[in-house]
Structures are given as C-alpha cells and as structure tokens.
Symmetry: C2
Subunit: 379 residues, 2 copies
DNA sequence: CTGAAAGCGCTTACAG
DNA sequence: CTGAAAGCGCTTACAG
C-alpha cells in the first residue's frame, strides 16, 4: 500500500524515468536493467497510481459504455468482448434509474464514451461536444458533430414492418414510439405501411415511458382492446415484445395466429419465451468492432471528421412472426446487407473527408446466432 | 476545456483555497464571496479535475459494482438505485467475458468495491485484502476478512428444494452446482432432501460452466434423458431455469405437471416466460441499502471488524412450481424472515465486535413485488 | 541509453 | 475568515 515508482527506482538502483519506461513498455532500456526493474516491481508489489498518470497525461486509459436502452444489450455485450480482446478497459454506466444514467456518465473518468442511449438530451450532448469529449453514438440519435455506429434504424423498422405485411397482416401496430427518441423507427414503420397502401389509425402507435417488459405488456393490452384490434405488433425492443406476447396470451389470443409480434434487438431472452420471439437483429459484432475502433481513433485524433458507420441487420423469424409461406422474406439478409463489407460509411454533413472504417463483415450463420448451442426453436 | 481552479480564483479575485472551499461545500466562506465564486465557476464552465483531487486526497468518489452472476441482477439494479438516491456515483464492471470481469475490477478507479461474484478467486481476493481495498461481498463466497451482505444461501436453497418437496416431488435435480462457487446452494439442496429422507443420485446434480439460459437448456435436456427422469429441478439462477423450462417443453413435457422448475434471483424475465417461473427472491432493497451503507462505512473506517449481514428471501410460487394445495408453504415469508428487523448480523470469526447494520426491513407486498404493474400471473 | 527537474490540478497543513 | 506554499505520483521535455 503506497508503493511508488520512486521506491521501485531506489530498490532497482535506477532513476524514476527508467522505471516509467519499463512499466510503459517504452524502448530504450537494456534487457538487464529491464529485468532488474521488473524484479523490484514484483518484490514490492508496485502498481502504478492511475490517477497520477491521468493527471500528468490527461488520459485515463478507460473507455466508458453507456447503454440505457435494451435493444442495444447484445451490442453492449459484444462491445465488452471486443474491447477486452484488444486490451481496452471499459467501465459501464448501465441502464439504471432514468435520470441517473444521463447524469452519471458526465463524471465517469474515461477518455471516450460509447453512448448507447436513444436521443441524448441536446443540452447534455452540447456540453460534451464543446468540452471535446470523444463520443460515439450507438442509438437512434444522430448529431452532425459526432460519430455514429449502428444499423439504419429507419430501414430496420421498415423491414420489420414489411415482414409482418408479408405474413398478410394489415392492422399493424407499433409499441415504443417515444416521439423524440424513437423517431426513425416510427418513420420506417410508416414508410412500410405507406408503400403497402395502408393507413394505420393514430391509436395504433403507442409511446411508452420506458422500453421494458411491463411497458410492452400494458401498451399491448390497451392496444388489443382497441376496435378493431391489431393483427400484428412491431415493438421497438425485445423486452417490450416479450411483454406484448404475454399480454396477448393472457387475453386468450393466439400468437402469431391472432396477433403476430416482432421485437428489436436480437436478445437471447427472445429465444426462450413461448412462442419464441421474432426480432430484428443488429449485427452486434460489426457494430462492436467498428465502435471500439472508432472511439480509439477519435481519442487519438480528435479532429477526424465525424462519420456514420452503418452496420447490417437481419430480420429473424421465429414463432411469434414466422417466415411467410412463400419463403421470400421481405428483408432477406442479402437485401439488408450493406454494399460495402463491414458496413457502409456515410459522410456527415460537416465532415468534408468521409472516414472509412475497417470493420470486416462476419457473415452470420443461419438465423443470426440462434443456431449455436441453444434450443432448437420449432419452425 | 482546461479551466482550472486557479482560473476561477483569478476571475473571482480570491485564493485557490476559497474556490476549493466553495466547490466542496466547506463552511467558513462568507455568502458574498461564495456567490462571487459560484458566478465565476458558471461563467468559465469550470469542472473540477477528478484525477487531481483523487491524487491529492486518495479518494475517487466512486464505488464500483461488479456483478458476474445473474441471480444478483435484481440486487444490482437495486444497488444502483440506492446509491444514486444517496448521491454516490457508481461504475459497473458488468458480467462479461468470463475472465474479463475478474481482471477488470482490479484497475477500476473506485474507493470501494461491491463484489457480486460467486467465490472470487482466492489469490485475487488476497491481493485486494492486503492492498486494503474496501470490499463488500454479495454472492456466495465468504471471507473472514471481508464484509458480506446477502441472503443465507444454504437456507434459501433449502427453502427452494422444500417447496418442490411440498408439491409432492421426490426426484429433485439441481442445475448450476459448480463445485466451488455454488457450494452453499448445493448444501442447502442436500439438507432439504436429507430431512425428507431422500437420496438423490449423483447424476441429479449438474454443474454448468456458466449460469445462463443455454447452460440450463443443455443441462436440463441431459437430465430429462436420465432414467428415471427428475420430476422437479432447482436451478441456481433464473436464466438457468428459463433454459430448463424450454428444454422440458421442447421435449414434450408439461411444466409443472411432468417436471416442476424453480429458479433463483427473482428477475423480471421469469414473470413473462410461459409457464411463468417460480423463484427464490432475495430482498434486493434490503441488500442494496445495507451494501451501500456498509461499503461507505468501510471506506470511512477501514478498521471496522468484518460483518455478515443476512437479508431475507422469499419463495415466490408461480406457474412452473405453484403453491402446494394445502396452502402451507414450506418457506413462508415469516419463516425465512430474519429475527432482527433489517437482517440479522452475525459476528465474523475474526471480528471481536460484531457490527450492527442499520438496514430497515421493508415488508414485501404479497408475492414479492410481482404485484406491481406487471401481468397478473394465473395462480 | 539514463538521470534530475518541472509540473499536471487539486487539497492540506500552516501562517496571517 | 482568507492566502501562499508544499506535495500527492506520475511523465515529459531537457541535459548528460
């Protein structure tokens, strides 16, 4: 407790700088000295004081991950894996008490923030941007001044809705449509309906306070009491959809026969509910790799022009909204895959030089991961 | 960007110390000065450099929460709420890549760690203890040198098993029984069987690599192929149980008629699967309050004798293992409630002066929280 | 290739 | 009640 670099230097009989060089793997230290220093470090149990380093260098060596929306849960897990693989340490400010999160990530000591929140409040974002905090957005919100990595939310929502249309459904409702944060998903939903020449009553679009199971349950229950009731529901997160399924079956309805349900996020949970949950699966691996690469690059070069990196998504049919009989899925993996391997990159309005990310695309096996080691879900 | 306390002092025409006093709410600054300083802070957008403060004071002002086992998910959420309510900032090292977590929490900058992992590796724990890191254990593992806050795991497992016995089950299996980390739950399971005069075959106790759904699925599938197959399964986490239910129904078995299932953790997810999941519910609010209180106390007074704070748990019958017809539940809330309000405190072997925690007990309504705002689960 | 000095931005004794 | 100085443990120019 309290072993400093100086103590190590004294024991090893070298200067503080040499110890620092060894600790940080800097070249220019002879092997013999390096060994002597290593020994001294081991003997004293020295561990560098991170705050001192931070104060001096301005770098914490930490990334922060903030996820306050469950449709990014799998993405968050993938980011943790990807960061660990590359040796980056990550702290998480989790989905928590509504206000807590937004407040929390301002003071987390990190060099950069991966912000998996939908539509971060404008003023908070402004403060971070002007403070120069490296920021990568993962959710729905876009900002000309920030990087974003994620699926094309409008298109993903359109594909989900089109999947329900392909099943012959016409009275399609949407749950989760917060006017602000979920704007693009609602836009995609409406686009799909418009193209099919369908006009959804306003009551079919339900905003919920949060994206959790209980919210989906109550929204669905109210929706199913509407006249006429919807014959399909698109939920903006998997937990919302899980709640909706339970509400439907509790009401004595059959899923998908009476009402089909599709979620958003591709979470594990959806494979185990009954009926199992159809869902839109963001390519979490691509997003994770691109997001980590990007935040690291942004930390190194704050002046990079902001870029948007679009990752592929797939519609994964399971029991709650199965593949249409014809077999021609409205949003085949091929169709929704990006033109460029690894996600396409759009130049942001302000960015004069669009930055090309290296995020190699890993083809997903079959149903997007459900094959590996899990239950075989009846088709 | 780069506004320091000195800048504020200059603008306000005071010394650095005065600004520091104002920022930290120290008394002894006249109201007029305080105002002037506040104004200067606002004008410059000053935010204190946390690392500098940390370096000087040795305090980060952060708590770290490490949860790598899902039976503590609800506890983790409650801790986040409790900490936020009391103005403590928390960073989370989440359940992630198996090794990542254990490695990660060593370098998270925090004044103390709430460690929700089962049986932390001895050597890692040793290192932290000798380093003097304030530590509160939340999982199964105990250590004479550390505080622990949580339910009585042996008793909780005994109650879960007794619940299955009360349903008339005799061939009761257990999933999740890692020899090390889950020892006490296995002990409780065996106690209950022994008291009922039942001898479970060794094959009925299954260790799994992880406590997730897919592990529960595979363990249950293998278990149900055993001859004779179990007529009830106690799972050491809710996700394990969710997987087990799916395995049983996939195999064409009826839950609970052919095989009853009970989980551990009282997670939300269990209310929505079908059949809904019976589970052991730790009193997350009591644990959360006690854990936060304790870690804060331990940070302030490192020499407190280590204490164990035992929180109450309840068995929550739902569809997958309903209440027995007689109505006399084997583990009524009353029976498993602690003698002392707020959880009983046991003196640790080394602690000569057992420390009494103040963790007021909140009686749980009905089924342990499931009543509020969720689906009405058929009895 | 290695060493002595300065300084990152705070807070904490110590004077006034 | 307020101010000037020292120092927390590192790393970064700068000399040798």
């Amino acid at each position: 407790m309290g072993v400093t670099l100086k103590d190590v230097a004294r024991l090893a009989g070298v200067s503080a700088k040499t110890v620092s060089n060894v600790v940080n793997g800097c070249p220019g230290v002879s092997d013999a000295l390096r060994r002597r220093v290593r020994d001294a470090i081991g003997q004293l149990g020295y561990r560098p004081h991170l705050a001192a380093r931070h104060l001096r260098t301005g770098r914490t060596g930490l990334l922060a991950l903030v996820v306050d929306t469950p449709h990014l849960d799998e993405v968050a897990r993938a980011i943790l894996r990807a960061a660990a693989q590359r040796g980056h340490r990550v702290v998480v400010a989790p989905r928590g008490p509504a206000r807590g999160v937004t407040a929390a990530w301002r003071d987390v000591p990190a060099d950069g923030i991966l912000l998996g929140t939908n539509a971060p409040p404008r003023d908070v974002l402004d403060a971070e941007v002007t403070a120069g905090t490296p920021l990568v957005l993962l959710g729905e919100g876009r900002d000309d001044r920030c990087d974003r990595v994620g699926v094309d939310m409008v298109r993903a929502a359109r594909d989900a809705t089109a999947h329900l249309l392909a099943l012959g459904r016409r009275r399609i409702a949407a749950i989760g449509a917060d006017p602000g944060p979920s704007r693009s998903r609602t836009a995609g939903y409406r686009q799909a309906l418009r193209r099919a020449g369908i006009d959804a009553p306003a009551a079919y679009v339900r905003a919920t306070a949060r994206p959790e199971r209980t919210d989906g349950y109550h929204a669905a229950r109210s929706l199913l009491a509407h006249d006429p009731p919807p014959d399909a529901i698109f939920c903006y997160s998997d937990p919302l959809a899980v709640g909706a399924i339970r509400a439907a079956t509790d009401a004595g309805l059959r899923v998908p026969d009476d009402v089909a349900v599709i979620g958003f996020g591709g979470t594990e949970e959806g494979r185990y509910v009954r009926p199992s949950l159809s869902t839109v699966v963001p390519d979490a691996e691509v997003i994770a790799r691109a997001a980590v690469t990007r935040i690291v690059a942004r930390i190194a070069c704050p002046d990079l022009p902001p870029a948007e990196i679009v990752a592929p998504h797939t519609v994964l049919p399971r029991e709650s909204a199965p593949a249409p009989p014809g077999g021609s899925r409205p949003a085949s993996p091929r169709e929704s895959a990006p033109e460029l391997p690894g996600g396409s990159v759009r130049a942001c309005p302000r960015g004069s030089v669009p930055h090309r990310e290296t995020a190699p695309h890993t083809p997903r096996a079959g149903d997007g991961g459900a094959a590996a080691g899990g239950p075989r879900v009846p088709a």
